[in-house]
């Protein structure tokens, strides 16, 4: 159900190499845009930091998360079984007043 939500970030490219390449190219050409490109790199790194801080579910390793997910699934299954057991208990047939 949660996997159905489309994630836009996946289309993004998280590589820093293109910007670094642009900086080096500007340096080769002695272009005045070097500082601008360097600022771009700094900004991208800062944005990446902020994005990482706000990303949900990454406070644990994938292995730990997987084990927690498995535990939750088992809990849901157990509780569903318990509910079914409660519901299927011997009920008294209360005679309806005629």
């Amino acid at each position: 159900m949660a996997a159905a939500v489309p994630v836009v970030e996946e289309a993004e490219d998280y590589s820093f190499l293109p910007i670094i390449h642009d900086v080096i190219k500007c340096m080769d050409k002695d272009s005045p845009d070097v500082h601008q490109e360097l600022n771009k790199l700094k900004t991208k790194i800062q944005e990446a930091r902020e994005q990482i801080s706000s990303m949900p579910g990454i406070d644990m390793s994938p292995a730990v998360q997987e084990s927690k997910l498995q535990t939750l699934r088992e809990q849901v299954q157990t509780k569903n079984q318990l509910l079914q057991k409660y519901k299927s208990l011997c009920m008294f047939d209360i005679p309806k007043p005629s």
Binding site: D13, L17, I52, P62, Q65, L69, L72
Partner: protein, 254 residues
Amino acid sequence: MAAAAADKSTKERLLSTLDDLEVLSRELIEMLALSRSQKLPPPGEDTLILELLIQRDKEFQELMQTALEQGRVHQEMQSLEKEVEKRDSDIQQLQKQLKEAEHILATAVYQAKEKLKSIDKARKGSISSKEIIKYAHRISASNAVCAPLNWVPGDPRRPYPTDLEMRSGMLGNMSNMSTNGVNGHLPGDALAAGRLPDVLTPQYPWQSTDVSMGILPPHHGNDFGLEPPGHNKENEDDVEAMSTDSSSSSSDSD
């Protein structure tokens, strides 16, 4: 080292890789800037830094994909947690209902047991209907609960002892003896003898019938002396017989 990396959270690994990327990119740019200003060919070190930079960048991208996947898993976990909470509340509600039902049933069972006990007790101490009827006859024969059939207003007979009757009884004598025979109404010798003057002597229904008839108001001699059909001497004898039987049987049963 790999085990330690696996234990670390994805967030820590991402930030660490990002720091490495920042440091490596800065070093590479500084090295290139320095080599350009000094017009020297770049040493082989920059190749190593570049390789490290590419490696870290690849790691960072992989970690970001992992982080996105973990985000999806996190959403699933949240929905599962909500489901668990819902199930918990359902279970608690059911348990509450079952507790209430148990309480109601326990009360009902207790009351039923008490009822059974009382039924059992009643069965053990049961009295036959014959005994009850005999006892009823015995009570009614002495007019202790209702007036005689020929009773009319003005008739002094009562289903309870009158004041005079109480005084002439043993209790009256005992109280008189305790006051040393002093009484405002009667002389001491009469009290000591345990008798009353003729004026105060009570007329009992069993003493004489003509006296009781004499008490009736004038012109109504036999008007009120109506007896119900079937009431005759034989019936009276039957009642007397039954009352004596019941008294003997009740005393025997004791």
